[in-house]
Symmetry: D4
Subunit: 217 residues, 8 copies
């Protein structure tokens, strides 16, 4: 697959049967499949379709995150000499951050999750900053006012990708303030759309691939 | 004047002559006047009208901030036993913060200005946090992504008022992201509209008045 | 807990079990918990978890408002020498105003509820203005066109906090006109986001704390 | 002219020469012309074109409001047995209210202007309410948070037309909050667009015509 | 009741029991009640509560429109010597137009419904124009692009009130294009918010009252 | 040039010298050039650059519309056996409609301009409907509430293209209501962006080309 | 029926019984009916109502697309000598594109569906470009960033109609980015509203009719 | 300086004297300065202030792009073993792309500019794809519908950063459609705000630094 990004199937708006069919085709043709935004029925349909296909594929579900990862028997997952940090401000950011982490891992990056370090209590992120500095690329998931990506990008050298999360209500809610905060940030960073964990994780993975390739040149 | 807030004349959309007439009336009837958003021609017209009126009024202009303060001869400005901190993230926030400071001072508060402590470099605000903690009410002016009010409200006990500033371009620019960030803040704070320095300073002044009254009960 | 604001758990987007776990932890570590936006299942889960924990904690539910307050046995609630008025325009504003009242009360303020004084019939607010003037801080909840906070701030000396409510349909509905009315008010006031009763009540509580501290200095 | 509304020429976006030509044509064919949103050059061009046409037309300019009214010699202006009140919240509302007043007067209504009765000081409108109650239709011009139309419609029996004015800055500025406030009003009223003084005055004039016709049946 | 507008209870966001209680109180104190936006359960609750109250009140439900009208035994409904036309563009506009018609009728106007005369087929409105011209005030309900109010206001002398309806999808859908079309209309008219049938009907009723009073002076 | 659409140079945001250089290149390589949105300085620069180039090119400026058309000596303009009607609601629509007409003519269509037939006076469009029916494609330019495209599409068989014009102020102004009206139209039509005369004229020209090709097959 | 467009009944917001009644009336009066956005219950109600009517009408349902086409016994569907291509970027665009295809077919065009040629993989559209060039009019359905219509319009001579699809989440989601992309396209094309498959197909059908008429003149 | 990003001074909203002072300070303390969005007066003020300071600093102005780069005598600019491609769709994108290129170059990357490859003519980008594939990070600047970043990200392996440009008028104009297109892209990419050339170039530079560091480990 182009760029090492796994064939991803967005389950939203598709029936379980449709998703299962697309996933088995992806496994057959590319050796693996990644389903995102799957509810439990869809995840079950994928697992059962893969089982029916008779192959000894491994199926890895995360129902909170909504992902299903399928590896064909004998599929050799890539393993890069490069690390991605996935940082969250609060518990509401976990599912979206989880989507980013799964994709980065499938691209082969070593993923480090650093959770609940939102800026309302600065000590938390200051305590973890050395860990974040280990990464070659950093994804920062935050909803509401979304201040964390700006703070993190002021503390690390690696490229930072903001991942706005659709928390918050009223004006600027549903992740809009968090996205606009990323677009207006006084620190250098780029952003993806609200809840676009897949895109953030994949872009971090592409950076990790470039770094890995340079390391192993 | 009700609540101790000086009669304020918003110069925008009025001719210099109109503003000057309103200001001299305010001085005659209340002992002082506060003009906001005055350009140089308007400030000059006010100063000259006050001079023509023959009284020994004092005129205090700040052309960067756009304010003109006039005190009639013998006007006794209030002096409260309470302090307001006015904090800015960067230099672009200075004029709007200045408007807030002038109003709070006219209400009688002791005003402390703490500048250039934006979150892209956390050391700056951490260095000043003890000074901010001295205040009975805190105004925090910030544009672009407007993360500073959230961070400050996480560090102090006093009520914090966010003052979004119309910096920033593109989507979320002109202070919109900063305002929405205040509305979505994970810390407890209230907000005023973009660039509404007068309102932020006046509300901080009202809190200072309440504290002063309690202290002197 | 910082600023005397109780640990608040926003139930929206969390399962009853998760909320119950967070609440019992908060009770264990801080002596109390405040759950907001809880539906009946969540409130029941919290009550039952607290009971199971065996302690003689008191549980105070308001299902219309969506709050659950838990006090550990022996928890000494703060009691401030300062008052907060919570004013509503109509019956649709009651749940959101209720959230503000609960928080202010937990911070220790004496809370006075003044209801159904919307501006379509001016006599109602004029009849109650002396009662509102007793308070050290005033929260005014109003939806639709949200004119009440402006009128109240013109009648009292204490700081006023607008609490826009998500009533109203069509353009400017869901509280947007009410929020924008607060941002544009000709009277001095600050605002919180639409339906942010928790924030309005907490800010009023912070002002009450400052006044109480000054009174008891 | 249909409905008794004078032929109105919106000067914005037209050259002085074009406006003058349209105005003289209107005078020739209907006996009068009403130019709105004219700057001084345009008003002068109209006056001079009418003069050149040699007729003894009367020209009535209001440069603050931006209107020019031309009556051909011998034009008999209508005179209705019905009254329109035009109410403003503050001085910034005067030009737009003036446009409404001119149109209503040209339709033949008796127009009563009641100024500076904004809700930040309720005494002002309460002092004038008997005068407003004299009118058969009421136009209420207000900018910023636009609370006045709602308050007036709660005080009078006649139909009220809100006329939002493009004052105010930041979010909800330029009359948007005032328009949305009219759309969400808890009192019964209808509205026109921001700054649409011509439409508000014409609709009030149509109501006055209907009442006059009924009175004189 | 002020202005002859019946006490109206918006059922949305209230429980059937709450609505029924408010309605019986209104009947007791004013002789009638008007419930809007009632679903079937609410309408039934009102009917049954009125029955239980034992009085021989009449209950008039229109489940498509969502209204319930209750008249106490012996209540003398007003009857005005003035007419209101309620015009619709298509079948989707019927429920909202129905709300307007019920209110106008309760105020005492003679109401004429003229349906399905949208501008995509001009013959229909041209065929009905004489009937529309009979009215003293005209309400025009239209969704989607909302062109009909503009066309009608170009054809009649009476005041026209646009009533935008929340049909249409995509950009400008949910009545937004129809409302903006009313605000931008090249014809003279005023507007109410999207789906605000109550307000449109009440304003038309106020005009009818004024005309009736003039007729009967 | 692809599709027979002339090489068009949008002058906005370019210096006169840059536009002149692009135009002479286009004439050299394609035999003609079409400049849109040119102010007088730019139009003059193009005319002079073409003159300097020494060729006997013809230059056709329309300063009201902002177009400059240059044909190299000997350039054979296309001439199609197909007609485009360009219809306007009012005089404010003329410049934008003019841009559409110029482009359609350059593509080779016979263009018929039908002006000032806005829906506030239905007789005008009804008087011209036979003329509009002659066309193979119809462009309808209208600003403010933009009702005319819907009415025209209800009267003719040919494809209709709405061309919203940036007239109107307040909410829905600057052509937004007109564009949304086209998107929500109850008649079948497609639309271009606000003021996009070039695109509307070019699409009408493409339809004329298809019809011409079919006629001459 | 005017313009050869079948009488279309939008099922959304109507009960199955209402739709069935409208459909049978259309069949009786025009020989056919086209129901759009029908769920299964509605489609079944239409089929059964047509059956009950006893006539040997044919009923053609597409439940994925939501259309029901009914032809009365002996109805002679039009057949044009002209072709429409309906192109999709991805599988999410299929239902909306299907609506366009059904309408174009009912108008009599030969319809060619070309699927899954989104621009993330350019080879797909480049492989199919000769097929697209066969058509007399082209509808291009795309959601998310909606780049495909711009690319297709750069590759073909026939008029292109963009059909934005309501896929995508976050800012610019629900088809908004796709619609704005069509409005801003650097290629010449016109657009319909988000998901307006009926309008896109009908406009393409009108172009096909014009071409067919020219061919058969 | 942190992350190797030069101290950047945004000239917008500052006087020439202020910018010159900030620039000389930056040169004194960090060895260089980068001014962005400078008009000619500001650029001249910087050049002259640096000259006055007497040092043999080099000053590099690009007045079209609005940048001034100052290097102190003896400043050793970084030089990375990594390349950044900066791609534009059309000539309107050049200034913003230029800002990105200057920053990336100052960080030390080898920068390759690839211009005028917009998607309305696919051959252009297909011809240049091998050149783009040489880069370690790719910035793609595009306005209007902004389709180019999506197409490029479908053709290369390196991380792509979209740089939306504020071209385009009407709905979705001023870069909004281009930004939303990047947020909704079917290809993997991240984005910066409209016209944020500085941020795009700096992020690309950070990736280049990471790759360079890996290469030279
Ligand atoms: N800079 C400002 N921003 C917001 N409100 C202001 C400002 N200056 C004055 N005001 C308020 O606006 C009210 C009306 O101002 P005016 O338009 O001068 O009558 C004053 O009484 C103040 O309460
Ligand atoms: N109803 C509410 N509205 C707004 N903020 C709240 C509300 N309830 C709790 N919060 C705040 O949101 C923070 C995060 O909540 P949580 O998502 O539970 O971690 C809490 O610490 C409170 O400061
Ligand atoms: N007035 C206009 N409105 C919209 N698009 C235009 C206009 N004039 C030219 N164009 C298109 O914009 C493209 C790019 O223009 P340019 O920026 O000059 O390269 C041209 O090839 C035309 O297709
Ligand atoms: N053209 C630009 N666009 C966006 N951010 C910028 C630009 N130029 C400088 N900056 C950033 O804005 C920060 C604050 O700039 P200043 O307002 O000059 O203090 C700088 O440190 C840069 O990170
Ligand atoms: Mg956050
Ligand atoms: Mg900031
Ligand atoms: Mg209210
Ligand atoms: Mg007002
Ligand atoms: Mg309609
Ligand atoms: Mg029009
Ligand atoms: Mg697409
Ligand atoms: Mg582009």
């Amino acid at each position: 697959r182009r760029r090492g990004i796994p064939e991803a199937i967005l389950a939203e708006g598709k029936t379980p049967a449709e998703v299962a069919a697309l996933a088995t085709t992806a496994v057959d043709t590319t050796g693996r499949a990644l389903v995102t935004r799957a509810d439990e029925a869809t995840a079950a349909a994928v697992a059962s379709a893969v089982g029916d296909a008779g192959a000894d594929a491994t199926v890895d579900r995360d129902d909170r995150v909504g992902t299903v990862v399928v590896h064909a028997d004998g599929f050799e997952p890539p393993s890069l000499d490069a690390a991605v940090a996935v940082v969250t401000a609060g518990t509401g950011d976990a599912p979206v951050a989880g989507e980013a982490a799964v994709v980065a891992r499938e691209i082969g990056a070593a993923v480090d999750r650093i959770d609940d370090v939102g800026v309302a209590n600065l000590d938390r992120i200051l305590d973890q900053v050395d860990r974040v500095r280990e990464a070659d690329a950093v994804v920062v998931a935050a909803g509401r006012e979304g201040a964390l990506p700006t703070v993190v990008a002021g503390l690390v050298d690696a490229p930072v990708i903001a991942l706005p999360v659709s928390t918050g209500y009223g004006v600027g809610g549903e992740g809009v303030a968090a996205l606009e905060g990323a677009l207006q940030s006084c620190s250098v960073l780029t952003t993806v759309n609200v809840d676009a964990g897949f895109v953030a994780g994949a872009q971090a993975g592409l950076i990790a691939r470039a770094v890995d390739a340079a390391r192993t040149e």
